[in-house]
């Protein structure tokens, strides 16, 4: 793909992404005003609503006695300067609360995603290769099982098995409490804590990718160009790798983009079960305390993450599939 087309593509998609982010901010704004009750108390959160001075300050800051479109403009301005509000309960700006916890969530979701996609695609390809035989049935059953179990329950069951009964792995937090570790030991400690949560989050998506890969590979294997390759005398192994798999991965890339939002949503559940110090946990605590500024901030932040991830998958797809640049 030549550089000028690439830049054009990025600009186009970037513009689209910016519009989506804008729409999300407006959505946030509408949610605040759709809630029953005084918008000021929504913005203040449950604990802030009890503080009349704080409420007055908010009313002035957001111009809540002004017409709606003025309020929208004020809100837009503040969000776009990354001022996501103030958490009365935690007595800290929302933005710094989120930035504090973001790395932990990125670590968790990143690990889970890599695990899910690598293992899922491999299993799905294996199942497609041995379609109808016992390996296929086994993989299909395993995938269906993980697909049908609720995320949080899988987490609890893993805790039960590995932490309570076998006592092999820790069941909460990101690192051992009370010990000062450095260098390699610290990394291993985090890894031990990461294992169960990443596994929990990843198993559901492993099932998704396995089923999807199996289905697309079977579909592609039926197509004419595979028959052409066979007629040319290409060995089966190479047919699978160079012809079937490459074409079957296209829908997987697209799907990964679509699933990004779900993955991040799932991290809320997993972080709650494992007390993992990420923004999911932050959201859960904010939920209990009805700390709306934090919740809205998390919503905004996760949406932006999804938009960025989608941009990456779109780019990847365009690089892999030469037909895309033509249709714009």
């Amino acid at each position: 793909m030549d550089p000028t087309k690439l830049i054009g593509f990025l600009l186009r998609r970037g513009l689209k992404a910016a519009i989506v982010v804008l729409a999300i901010v407006v959505c946030n704004f509408l949610l605040v005003h759709a809630a029953p009750g005084d918008p000021a108390s929504v913005i203040a959160g449950q604990s802030g609503a009890a503080d009349p001075l704080f409420l007055e300050q908010l009313r002035k800051q957001f111009g809540l006695d002004q017409p709606l479109y003025v309020q929208l403009w004020v809100y837009l301005k503040s969000v776009l300067t990354l001022d996501l509000g103030f958490s009365h309960r935690q007595q800290m700006p929302v933005a710094s609360l989120i930035l504090d916890r973001l790395p932990a969530t990125l670590l968790l979701t990143g690990a889970a995603f890599v695990f899910a996609i690598v293992t899922g695609v491999t299993l799905g390809a294996l199942a497609a290769r041995r379609v109808g035989r016992w390996a296929d049935s086994l993989i299909t059953i395993i995938a269906l099982t993980f697909y049908a179990t609720p995320l949080f329950w899988v987490g609890l069951m893993l805790v039960l098995l590995f932490s309570v009964w076998l006592e092999w792995l820790p069941s909460f937090g990101m690192s051992s409490v009370g010990v000062e570790l450095h260098g390699m030991a610290a990394v291993l400690d985090v890894a031990k804590h990461l294992l169960l949560p990443a596994l929990t989050l990843g198993l559901f998506y492993l099932a998704v990718y396995a089923r999807l890969t199996r289905a697309t590979m079977l579909e592609v294997a039926d197509q004419d160009f595979v028959k052409t390759a066979r007629a040319k005398g290409v060995p089966e192994g190479r047919i699978l790798r160079a012809h079937v798999l490459r074409n079957a991965l296209l829908p997987v890339i697209t799907f990964a983009g679509i699933q990004a939002g779900q993955l991040i949503g799932g991290s809320i559940l997993v972080e709650t079960v494992f007390a993992w110090p990420g923004i999911g946990r932050l959201a859960f605590d904010a939920l209990l305390a009805r700390d709306y500024p934090v919740l809205l901030g998390v919503f905004f932040c996760t949406s932006v993450m999804v938009v960025l991830f989608n941009l990456v998958t779109d780019l990847l797809y365009a690089v892999v599939d030469p037909r895309v640049e033509v249709s714009g």
Partner: protein, 280 residues
């Protein structure tokens, strides 16, 4: 119709799914008979393990019967699953039909809207909606419907787009039929199969979503649901594993059954695709 059942029966998993689903529905209907009274009633000492004191699945931290909770919880899960799916279908089918049939600007507008909704993390939005509108069964159903309609709209739009240029629909235009009549009598009946399959999968997703919301404490506080039971058991998992395990198994079986039924429906309605899937 008989052909349909014959093809459906060929998928043994689908038959198993139907049986499990039937049993779950039966349990839900018979809950007040099998476990009279409210599941919130304390019936024994707390933390009784399964099998003791006549409690099949043990008792929870306040001495409530876990089995009764599961049976009564089935009603809520199935109800929420069905109603929210219906609502999502209503929204999705209407929007998808408008986009697919009218095309042009209407299509663009609906698609941008749908894409936007698919970008937002749906679970986060659901949490936000339930929190803001205060947890109750109606806000849960509303939230699930709001985050579940985009896939329906996409599927319906795709079907309508493909059917609109099919020759028998063009023939209906040439015959002079009204637009509404064409949509209702020509296009919609032929678009039903994928909608039906999608619906069964959506009920499964709705049940998972509802249980996740209840687990986080966002369910209706007056209703005992499977998610609530697991959430309640979470902090005492070392003491009473049965509080978390059994309701989870119930969710798993129901969602599994719905998925199997969905696949069975898909194979029965699209025999050619079934062979491609390696199923038939």
């Amino acid at each position: 119709m008989r052909d349909f059942w014959r093809r459906y029966r060929r998928n043994k998993g689908a038959v198993l799914g139907l049986v499990i689903l039937f049993l779950v529905i039966l349990m839900a209907i018979l809950a007040p008979v099998l476990f009279p009274g409210s599941p919130w009633d304390m019936v024994s000492a707390p933390f009784m393990p399964p099998g003791e004191m006549g409690l099949l699945l043990g008792s929870d931290s306040l001495g409530r019967d876990v089995a009764a909770g599961i049976a009564h919880g089935a009603r809520i899960s199935l109800l929420v699953g069905a109603v929210s799916t219906l609502a999502a279908l209503l929204i999705g089918v209407t929007l998808g039909a408008v986009a697919g049939y009218l095309g042009g600007f209407a299509d663009d507008a609906v698609m941008r809207f749908t894409e936007f909704f698919q970008t937002i993390p749906s679970f986060v939005l659901a949490i936000l909606l339930v929190a803001i509108f205060n947890p109750s069964i109606s806000s849960v159903v509303f939230a699930i419907a709001v985050v579940s309609w985009p896939p329906v709209a996409r599927v319906v739009r795709a079907e309508f787009l493909s059917l609109r240029s099919r020759e028998f629909v063009q023939a209906a235009e040439v015959l002079g039929k009204s637009r509404l009549s064409i949509v209702l009598t020509d296009i919609l009946p032929n678009a039903l199969s994928p909608i039906v399959v999608l619906a069964s999968l959506m009920v499964a997703t709705a049940i998972l979503l509802e249980s996740a919301l209840s687990f986080l404490g966002l369910g209706d506080p007056n209703l005992m649901t499977w998610g609530f039971l697991i959430g309640a058991g979470r902090s005492v998992i070392r003491l009473a594993w049965w509080m978390s395990v059994f309701p989870g198994i119930a969710i798993f079986l129901t969602v599994l059954a719905l998925n199997l039924v969905g696949e069975g429906l898909s194979d029965a309605l699209n025999p050619r695709l079934a062979r491609q899937r390696g199923a038939a």
